[in-house]
């Protein structure tokens, strides 16, 4: 118990230290979080009327973000599979970072659901035995169950692993491996369940297509890993942590396959709807062409298509995949592309036209956006804090001191260009520059 407390104290001190860039980043996130929180206070006081959601379009920007982020969370599995099923070392060294992203994404998911519900004060009605969780009937009950399981699972794995490294012990494989293997079906389940949540509604033909869950998974395996690559490139450049090229290349290659499947499934759906041409075509028409003069989503979805297709080409061609600039471009395009396609592009056409064929065009209000930005900032804050602790631990820069009680911090800066780091470290701290980052033992 004492050890846990000492570890926790150490992490608090560690997260309070960093370069100027780190401080600026964290400070701006905190400001956005405060703005988001204040927006939420207004929404709680006035009700959800401050959003542009109405009876016709009863889910909007919040649930769109939620859906996208479930995908990002599920994508950690793309790192776990090559690392632990195929025992591929270059990714094994970084798989943990994927799990930390999953934790942060799930935190955002839970926040987005919380701000969307009308009576957050009644959240306890969802707790089994205390309230009534309508399990197994309601898919939303399933979602509550799998999302929380996945959060706890990833948090347990990550904290257990880092805690042991901190105390310079070998993590117990008998405990870790089953959890890691279990995280694979758990990741698939969170996305499948979220897809089924939409899929099971006969009232909404746009979602009531059996291709939905596979499409969800395919696009998830694009967006999450694309974000991971961007983070890896940043980490590699600005911290002492080393990440091998081949690991990044492998992930980019996997993204290309996933994007191909995603585009193929999308094409299949478009064919089916347009060729049969029943009245169920209307939502697809609203999304792709506009319907009766309403076309708010049209420019967005075509941007998404263009982005996704370009990124697919970039990741498919080995030369552009290996080039850092085009790699970054591809990742950004995919992230934005999938965000549009799997967010508003998926949720809104489910409601437009509505079940009585009324067209209510939904565009989020400033309040909705400000609250959403606050939640994104919260997620990034959580992710930053987790990385701030995890990376020095994995580098061997943060571990228990020789006396077994205090802690040793070998890297006060965390986030800095390598050249600046060398200069600053020797100037101000008088410490040796430090050996090139020690690899984490796995």
């Amino acid at each position: 118990m004492k050890n846990i407390w000492n570890f926790f104290k150490g992490t608090l001190v560690l997260t309070a230290r960093g370069s100027t860039a780190y401080y600026c980043w964290v400070a701006s996130l905190l400001i956005l979080m405060v703005v988001g929180a204040l927006t939420y206070v207004v929404q709680l006081t006035d009700g959800l009327i401050v959003t542009n959601m109405r009876d016709q379009v009863s889910w909007g920007f919040y649930i769109s973000n939620f859906t996208f982020l479930v995908g990002v969370a599920a994508a950690a599995v793309l790192l776990v599979i090559p690392a632990y099923v195929y025992n591929w070392k270059p990714i094994k060294e970084i798989a943990l970072l994927g799990e930390l992203l999953a934790v942060s994404a799930i935190v955002m998911c839970l926040l987005f659901v919380t701000v969307d519900i009308g009576r957050p004060d009644r959240f306890w009605h969802l707790i089994p035995f205390v309230g009534i969780l309508n399990f197994p009937q309601s898919l939303l009950a399933w979602d509550v169950a799998v999302l929380n399981t996945y959060l706890v699972l990833n948090l347990t794995i990550a904290v257990y692993y880092l805690y042991n490294l901190y105390y310079q012990r070998e993590p117990n494989k008998k405990f870790m491996t089953p959890l890691l293997l279990f995280s694979i079906p758990a990741a698939i389940s969170i996305h499948t369940v979220t897809a089924f949540l939409y899929n099971g509604l006969g009232a909404r033909p746009f979602w009531n297509a059996s291709i939905l869950a596979p499409r969800f998974l395919a696009s998830a395996f694009c967006s999450g890993p694309a974000f991971m690559i961007l983070v890896f490139l940043l980490i590699r450049r600005y911290t002492r942590f080393q990440i091998k090229d081949e690991a990044i290349q492998k992930i980019a290659e996997l993204i290309a396959y996933a994007m191909f499947i995603n585009l193929f499934l999308l094409g299949s759906e478009i064919f089916k709807e347009y060729y049969t041409g029943t009245i169920h075509l209307a939502p697809m028409q609203y999304l792709l062409q506009g319907l009766h003069g309403h076309s708010a989503l049209v420019p967005w979805i075509w941007t998404a298509m263009l982005f996704n297709f370009s990124a697919f080409m970039i990741f498919l061609i080995p030369d552009t995949r290996r080039n850092n600039t085009t790699l970054v471009l591809g990742c950004v395009l995919i992230f934005i592309g999938v965000y549009i396609e799997k967010g508003m592009g998926l949720v809104i056409p489910g409601f437009v036209p509505d079940v009585l064929h009324e067209i209510y065009e939904y565009v989020p209000t400033g309040m909705e956006m400000s609250l959403a930005i606050g939640i994104w900032a919260t997620g990034l804050f959580v992710f930053t804090m987790l990385l701030r602790v995890a990376i020095p631990i994995m580098n061997g820069d943060f571990h228990v001191a020789k006396d077994g009680v205090g802690f040793h911090i070998g890297d006060n800066l965390f986030f800095l260009r390598k050249a600046d780091r060398d200069r600053l470290v020797t100037d101000s701290e008088g410490e040796p520059t430090g050996k090139p980052g020690k690899k984490a033992k796995t």
Binding site: K9, L12, V13, A16, R17, L30, M33, V34, A37, Y40, V41, L44, T45, D46, G47, L48, I49, T51, M53, R54, D55, Q56, S58, W59, V113, I117, G118, R119, P120, D121, R122, F123, H125, L126, G131, I132, L133, N134, Q137, S138, L139, L140, A141, V144, L197, Y198, G200, L201, G202, A203, R204, I279, A282, G350, P353, D354, V355, L356, H357, E358
Partner: protein, 308 residues
């Protein structure tokens, strides 16, 4: 913290954390009842699901609500919880050949059931359809507003909760805040609903409505005869819907739903589906009847028919 000296130059960091923590707690508290809230607020907060209340608890809840509403609306409000009548299953019939699209039913419903006047919540939506195209919802006009109805070339189709025998909305509720009663009426426990709106996504008839803001219900217009599962005033952030005027139809002697009573052309019929000699059975067996979106297998107990 053990490492005070090192932390001091980051004092602002600590205070920042404090501010943030305060804010987080603040937001949390705002969502919950205030600590000095009266006992009834806490009672409401911890109130069980309607179907889990025993007789005593139910009486207490009803008494609490009655005193709350009476105070708020400045008149004696009764909140009943009349049970379904044995051997009754309600059904509704709507004669499309008679309906003239006057929307009197819409507003009679609003008055009877204490819907919010601003923003307006309507449990009945009347669609204007083209005679040439028939019942094709994709050509429906929701906001027709001529000087006089009926209009040449059009017919009208009111849509409200179809009280499905196989309701897709109750299945999806994550907390069982909505269910079908023994007399076939689908109801919502407004004190248990968490406002996730999954039921609204599941309903194929647009019959469910959400209280996006605090409902505005003028004191003098408030109908004080209420039912717990029906027309009592609704809190912000919950879903509501048509209950076939549960506060009227379950009484003995009962009354017709407000929409049925007001209809100037007699297009609306209401009765017990289990009564072989009843009006509903007669029209189902003898008229040209259809149900809306039959292919979804929701099995509505709301029957559209053509009497002429």
């Amino acid at each position: 913290m053990s490492n005070k000296p090192q932390c001091d130059n980051h004092a602002f960091q600590k205070s920042r954390r404090k501010v943030l923590k305060g804010l987080a707690v603040g937001v949390g508290v705002l969502a919950l009842p205030a600590p000095n809230a009266s006992a009834s607020v806490w009672e409401a907060f911890f109130q069980k699901n309607f179907r889990e209340l025993d007789r005593n608890e139910l009486q207490k809840v009803l008494a609490r609500l009655e005193s709350e509403y009476s105070k708020e609306y400045g008149k004696q409000v009764t909140v009943k919880a009349t049970l379904p009548i044995e051997g009754v299953k309600y059904g509704y019939g709507l004669d499309l050949s008679r309906c003239i699209g006057c929307r009197r039913c819409v507003y009679a419903c609003v008055e009877e059931n204490n819907q919010s006047r601003e923003p307006q919540i309507h449990w009945i939506r009347v669609l204007r359809l083209d005679k040439e195209k028939g019942v094709a919802l994709e050509y429906a006009e929701h906001y027709y507003n001529p000087a006089e109805v009926p209009e040449e070339g059009h017919f009208y189709m009111p849509v409200q909760c179809q009280q499905c025998e196989n309701p897709p909305c109750t299945k999806v509720c994550p907390v069982q805040a909505t269910w079908q009663e023994n007399d076939g009426i689908v109801v919502v426990d407004y004190n248990w609903c968490i406002g996730c709106r999954y039921c609204m996504a599941a309903c194929p008839y647009g019959a469910r409505h959400f209280n996006w803001s605090k409902s505005k219900l003028p004191k003098e217009e408030m109908n004080p005869e209420t039912h717990y599962l029906g027309n009592r005033p609704r809190p912000t952030g919950v879903v509501e819907k048509c209950t076939f005027c549960i506060q009227r139809t379950r009484e003995q002697p009962g009354r017709y739903p407000a929409c049925q009573e007001i209809c100037p052309v007699g297009a609306r019929k209401f009765g017990n589906l289990l009564d072989p000699k009843g009006e509903m059975r007669y029209l189902i067996e003898n008229k040209r009847v259809f149900i809306l979106k039959e292919d979804l297998n929701t099995q509505p107990k709301f029957f559209y028919f053509y009497a002429t």
